[in-house]
Structures are given as structure tokens and as C-alpha cells.
């Protein structure tokens, strides 16, 4: 699973996700992409699960690019613990995703295969998504 190698601080504020994505809103690497249409926190497990779904559906064809990285640690307090006593321990990593962000790109597969692979991947993600293709007459 994706995780930072080292971080400056162990814990992060929860934060809020405002506005639209300012970067990574168009295809940069592949011919097809999966774009987030609502804000959300995507965990490293969800990214890995979606990546696996895409890879398995594409079998031995194509290439994948993951354009989000889970760099925000999320802490959780243990069960049945009274409030106070400091922040909980970091448990998992998330990527903050804004609407318009392209999360995955693929190339080297036909359009119908790409669409189905992204449908399967989208089911693993906590945000609504949209399939996008590079502008061309064929698509």
C-alpha cells in the first residue's frame, strides 16, 4: 500500500476539503482517466483495492498511473477510552481528493475495457467518479 517514507509531523489535523481541484484535472499520461466529482478522503487501502480491480480486469494489457498519494495520517483513539489524554495514534493514511481530480489513468487498452475497469475501481472508492477519455475522433 502507498504510504510516505517519512513525515515531518506524525499527526495531522482532520481538515476540511473545500473547492475544486486546481491541478491534475486533465489527462497527462494515459488515454483514459477516472475523475472525482465530489470531495472526499481516499484511504491507501481503497487506492490499492481500486488499483487491483483495474489491473485484474485489464489482465496483461495496458499501463496504470495513480495520480493521488495518501500523505495525510488519520489517528484513532482506542475503544472505550474517556475523552482527553491527547490525540489517538495514527492508524492509516488518506489522500484528500477535491472534485475534478484525476485519480487514475490507464493506457494501452480498448475503450470498453477501460470503462469497465474504471467501473470496478469506482466501486472501491468513497467518492463519485466520472470516466474521461482523451479528446479524439475515435472516442
Amino acid at each position: 500500500m502507498l504510504a510516505p517514507k517519512k513525515t515531518k509531523f506524525r499527526r495531522a489535523h482532520k481538515g476540511r476539503i473545500h473547492g475544486l481541484s486546481r491541478s491534475a484535472t486533465s489527462l497527462n499520461f494515459g488515454s483514459f482517466g477516472l475523475k472525482a466529482t465530489e470531495p472526499g478522503r481516499v484511504t491507501a487501502r481503497q487506492i490499492e483495492s481500486a488499483r487491483r480491480a483495474i489491473t485484474r480486469h485489464m489482465k496483461r494489457l495496458g499501463r496504470i498511473w495513480i495520480r493521488i498519494f495518501p500523505d495525510v495520517p488519520v489517528s484513532v483513539k482506542p475503544a472505550e477510552v474517556r475523552m482527553g489524554g491527547g490525540k489517538g495514534s495514527p492508524e492509516f493514511w488518506v489522500a484528500r481528493v477535491k472534485p475534478g481530480r484525476i485519480m487514475f489513468e490507464i493506457d494501452g487498452v480498448p475503450v470498453d475495457l477501460a470503462k469497465r475497469a474504471f467501473e470496478l475501481a469506482s466501486a472501491k472508492l468513497p467518492v463519485t467518479t466520472r470516466f474521461i477519455a482523451r479528446f479524439s475522433e475515435e472516442n
Partner: protein, 226 residues
């Protein structure tokens, strides 16, 4: 040379965000025509027609004739701003073209003879480094596409600009190096599968040796030292 197309435009008045938003509210896309040391022309375009043209390959390498008022202006699209989520056009920039000017134009790359590449046949993936190439040429010499022949390429091979036969009087804008256009890469799916299989084999071996060892433990953030 690519054919010259026409686009229906209307003139609009007022510059700035407020005027542009008013145009969008009326169902049009605001745009601007600049260049040739003349004053800017403010235009409004039909969103459907603009999108249809935008979806075609080589929109930014196609010359357009815009009828602005009583005059017809030959222009080259320079930029189209899209909405980050819906990808609908928000604004379009066009540059006036004169016959004797040298222009920088992004021409799309078309790949041919894919079945004749042994690397692609073996499951390799065409990794397109540049989907379009910036060229310097006169308006009459804009090529429709740059054709790249993939025959005979193996996994790991790459195509550079020096291998491409450009038309006469057309030069690439990047002249200081022999830049890469595409490579034939091994598919990530193949690599990933092999890694997964190896990892699974190791995990099962580890489990058999020491069942308590959690070989597949997820990478957790480092716990704080107290």
C-alpha cells in the same frame, strides 16, 4: 496543410470576470482574439460547436476563419479553459494569423503500424511521452498530424524526434536536444502480477514457518515514541 474551418462567433462587449460570466449565463462561451499588433476582439462562441471541434484530433493545429462583424479573421486556437469537473469550455483564446508569420503550433502525433511492432505484440505498452509536438512553421505549412512508424520496435525501444521526417520548412520548437516522443514499455499489469505472485509465495512460506507472524500487515503510520 490542414484545412481551414469556420466557427460562428458573435461580438460581445465588456471585459473582465463580470462580463464573461454574463456571457456564460446567456448560454455562450466567452473568447478573445488577439495578435498582429491589433486591438483585441471580444467574442462569444456557441458551446456545442466549440466542444465538437475540441473533441477532434488536432484542434490546436487547425486554422479557423472567424466572421467578426463585417470582417473575416483567420485565427489559430491557442488555449481553451475547461471546467475542472464537467470539462465544459469556459473561455477560448484565438490568435490572429498573418501569411508571412512564423507560428508555434502543437501538432498531434499519430502512431501507425502497431501490429508490426514485436514489442507491442509481446504485450508491451506504447508509452506516449508527447501526445503533441510543438513545431515552428508558417500557417500554410501546418501539418495535420506527425506520423510515427512503430514497425520493428521492441520493448525498451524509444522513438525520438530525429527519427521523424518532418515536412519542409517545419522545425521542432525544442531544438537543443533529441527529445523522446514515445517508448515501448513493459505493461504494469504484467510486472504487478509477477510481484504479487512472488509476494504471495513468500507470505505463504512465512505463514507455514511462523503462523503468528503477520506477513501481510498493512503499513501503519509510525507510532509516537513516549
Amino acid at each position: 496543410m490542414s484545412e481551414v474551418k469556420s466557427l460562428k462567433v458573435e461580438t460581445r462587449s465588456g471585459t473582465g470576470t463580470g462580463a464573461a460570466r454574463a456571457v456564460r449565463r446567456s448560454g455562450k462561451v466567452p473568447g478573445v482574439v488577439y495578435g498582429n499588433n491589433l486591438d483585441n476582439d471580444l467574442i462569444a462562441l456557441d458551446p456545442g460547436e466549440l466542444r465538437r471541434n475540441l473533441q477532434k484530433t488536432g484542434f490546436f493545429a487547425t486554422l479557423f476563419d472567424l466572421k467578426i462583424g463585417s470582417k473575416t479573421v483567420r485565427v489559430l486556437p491557442k488555449d481553451v479553459q475547461l471546467h475542472p469537473v464537467s470539462d465544459l469550455p469556459l473561455h477560448a483564446d484565438f490568435m490572429r494569423i498573418s501569411k508571412d508569420s512564423k507560428i508555434h503550433v502543437n501538432v498531434p502525433v499519430q502512431f501507425t503500424n502497431e501490429p508490426l511492432s514485436p514489442g507491442l505484440k509481446r504485450g508491451g505498452v506504447l508509452n506516449v511521452v508527447r501526445h503533441q509536438i510543438e513545431l515552428i512553421c508558417s500557417p500554410e505549412n501546418i501539418p495535420n498530424v506527425i506520423v510515427v512508424d512503430l514497425s520493428g520496435l521492441e520493448i525498451g525501444d524509444s522513438v525520438h524526434i530525429s527519427k521523424i521526417n518532418l515536412p519542409a520548412n517545419v522545425v521542432p520548437a525544442i531544438a537543443d536536444r533529441d527529445f523522446t516522443i514515445a517508448t515501448i514499455a513493459a505493461p504494469t499489469a504484467m510486472k504487478g502480477d509477477e510481484e504479487k505472485e512472488q509476494a504471495a509465495a513468500q507470505a505463504t512460506a512465512g505463514d507455514a514457518a511462523a503462523p503468528a507472524a503477520d506477513a501481510a500487515a498493512p503499513a501503519k503510520p509510525t507510532p509516537e515514541k513516549k
